[in-house]
């Protein structure tokens, strides 16, 4: 328990009549990369949002470094969020700001760096996600994949302890997806970052994960190392992990979320 950085303890969440999370139990150790997989719309992003206090559970608790996010007053939630970096689906960039201003935003709001230092860091982080000379561009003219990478640069600009990635490789070509996966591994190895990655990219998941958790019907149905997932005999997990054409007819119905 002592080295567990993030704990979901029997978390339930309903939206209207839909029971999205039906008792999630998940623990992520400090410095670990946990990859969460599961079909679209199953509640993976909602699970991440619980961690940063954007969504409150109907039942159960979410713990970050021994403190319950569920019971924190709002000001403490804001303080806690400073330890996080989050890559949202599609980047969620502020469209009225340039790429550079977007990436610089967390630094400008929370640190007292001189302007020259801020721009140095912005360029450095953009280079890490393989983007150069884009600081003055507006997010609206970037491709989806580029926006995602700018979002990632913004998420890591303050070198946070915990990074949440919501589909980091969606919209990227395989070479760039591989580069981003390498970056996730590098951040873990160099800075000991604790990460939760929500993804559908199975090769990427096997590349970056210390452990993988699979979400189905509002519950974590399997947690284990990438090797354990490769060797699993569970038909539901097998169908998702090796989702070849001949295996679309499996225990997971096509319409299930």
């Amino acid at each position: 328990m002592a080295d567990e950085m993030i704990v979901f303890d029997n978390v339930h969440k309903r939206f209207g009549s839909k029971h999205i999370l039906n008792g999630i139990n998940l623990a992520v150790k400090k410095g670990e990369t946990m990859v969460v997989i599961g079909r679209s719309g199953i509640g993976k992003s909602v699970t991440l949002k619980h961690l940063v206090g954007l969504v409150k559970p109907d039942q159960g608790e979410v713990w970050v470094d021994g403190k319950s996010v569920t019971r924190m007053p709002e000001w403490e939630v804001y303080e806690m969020r400073k330890r996080f970096g989050m890559l949202h689906q599609g980047g969620a960039l502020i469209r009225s700001m340039t790429v550079g201003e977007n990436v610089a935003l967390p630094l400008r709001e929370h640190d007292n760096y001189p302007e020259s230092e801020i721009w140095k860091k912005v360029k450095e982080k953009l280079a890490l996600v393989h983007l150069n000379e884009v600081e003055d561009m507006m997010p609206t003219i970037l491709s989806g994949g580029m926006r995602n990478r700018v979002g990632l640069a913004r998420a890591i600009i303050r070198e946070p302890e915990i990074i949440l990635y919501d589909e980091p490789t969606t919209g990227l070509d395989p070479i760039m997806a591989n580069a981003i996966n390498e970056l996730v591994v590098d951040l873990k190895n160099k800075f000991g970052v604790t990460s939760i990655v929500v993804t559908h990219d199975m090769p990427g998941a096997f590349r970056i994960a210390d452990r993988i958790a699979m979400l189905s019907k509002g519950k974590i149905i399997k947690i284990g190392s990438p090797q354990e997932f490769l060797e699993t005999e569970d038909p539901v997990v097998k169908q998702f992990v090796f989702g070849e054409e001949e295996q679309t007819e499996g225990p997971i119905p096509e319409s299930s979320t």
Binding site: V52, R81, H88, I94, R95, L105, P106, E109
Partner: protein, 263 residues
């Protein structure tokens, strides 16, 4: 019958929720006044945008309000040979009522809707959530600067509308009622008190707070994509106009009974 009651109860709950959220936004914006210096660039930018956006329309409307009022009241006064009182009537009604109310309505349409659309678009595209995750409070970052900008601009434009309205009334009274400028001004000066002017500015400050709170609140609560942003914008204009007229009456009564304005 039970269905009607349920609908009524649902609607009144929604109204209470809307009002509660707007009041909460006013409260939180006041709490974040301590960050004024840190957000000074945005405050200056928003003030500039509000001024540039509001200035020409306010002038245009004030000119016509002054002209129409002078013409209509003047023609009536002519029947009784009382046209010499036109200066005081125009000046007092512009400063106490028409200047602040019309400026408020114009700014609700121009700036309240703009705030709702801007912030609403950010809400539906998850930009507000992204700000929150970056530990940036959207009230401090987006709402407070707009709040201050509107609180500065609304009284300023009201004072400007008062002057323009009186000036245009003066021209019409000279041209149509044959009351010359000096007669108009001396009559205005005789009856217009300083409290008529500042009571109008107090009203305009309250209108500014109302417009900013409703616009930002509707924007932050916008959902369901482009349609949601459209609804938030429409609601902002409607709620602001109703609230401006309602608070104008309540404040008029309060200012008269407790501060002797117009008594």
């Amino acid at each position: 019958m039970s269905l009607n009651f349920a609908t009524l109860s649902k609607r009144s709950n929604a109204m209470l929720e809307t009002a509660g959220h707007a009041i909460l936004i006013i409260y939180e914006s006041f709490l974040f006044l301590r960050s004024v210096w840190a957000r000074r660039k945005e405050i200056v930018y928003q003030t500039y945008i509000c001024l540039v956006g509001g200035f020409p329309v306010t002038m245009l409307v004030a000119v016509f309000v002054g002209m129409v009022m002078t013409f209509q009241i003047g023609v009536f006064l002519l029947r009784f040979g009382q046209e010499s009182s036109i200066g005081s009537l125009v000046a007092v009604s512009m400063c106490r009522e028409l200047g602040p109310v019309w400026t408020g309505v114009i700014l609700a349409g121009l700036l309240g809707s703009k705030m709702a659309a801007e912030i609403g678009t950010m809400s539906v595209s998850e930009e507000i959530e992204a700000l929150q995750v970056m530990a940036i409070n959207p009230i401090r970052f987006l709402v407070m600067p707009r709040f201050i900008a509107l609180c500065l601009v609304c009284p300023l434009l009201t004072a400007y509308a008062d002057l323009v309205g009186i000036a245009s009334g003066m021209v019409i009274s000279a041209q149509i009622l044959h009351v010359d400028y000096s007669a108009f001004m001396s009559n205005a000066r005789e009856f217009l008190e300083f409290k008529d002017f500042w009571s109008g500015l107090i009203k305009s400050m309250v209108f500014a707070i109302t417009i900013a709170a409703v616009g930002c609140s509707q924007g932050l609560r916008a959902e369901k994509g482009a349609e949601g942003v459209g609804i938030a914008t429409m609601k902002t204009v409607v709620i602001c106009c109703v609230m401006i007229l309602l608070t104008d009456y309540v404040m008029g009564w309060f200012l008269m009974n407790f501060l002797g304005v117009g008594a």
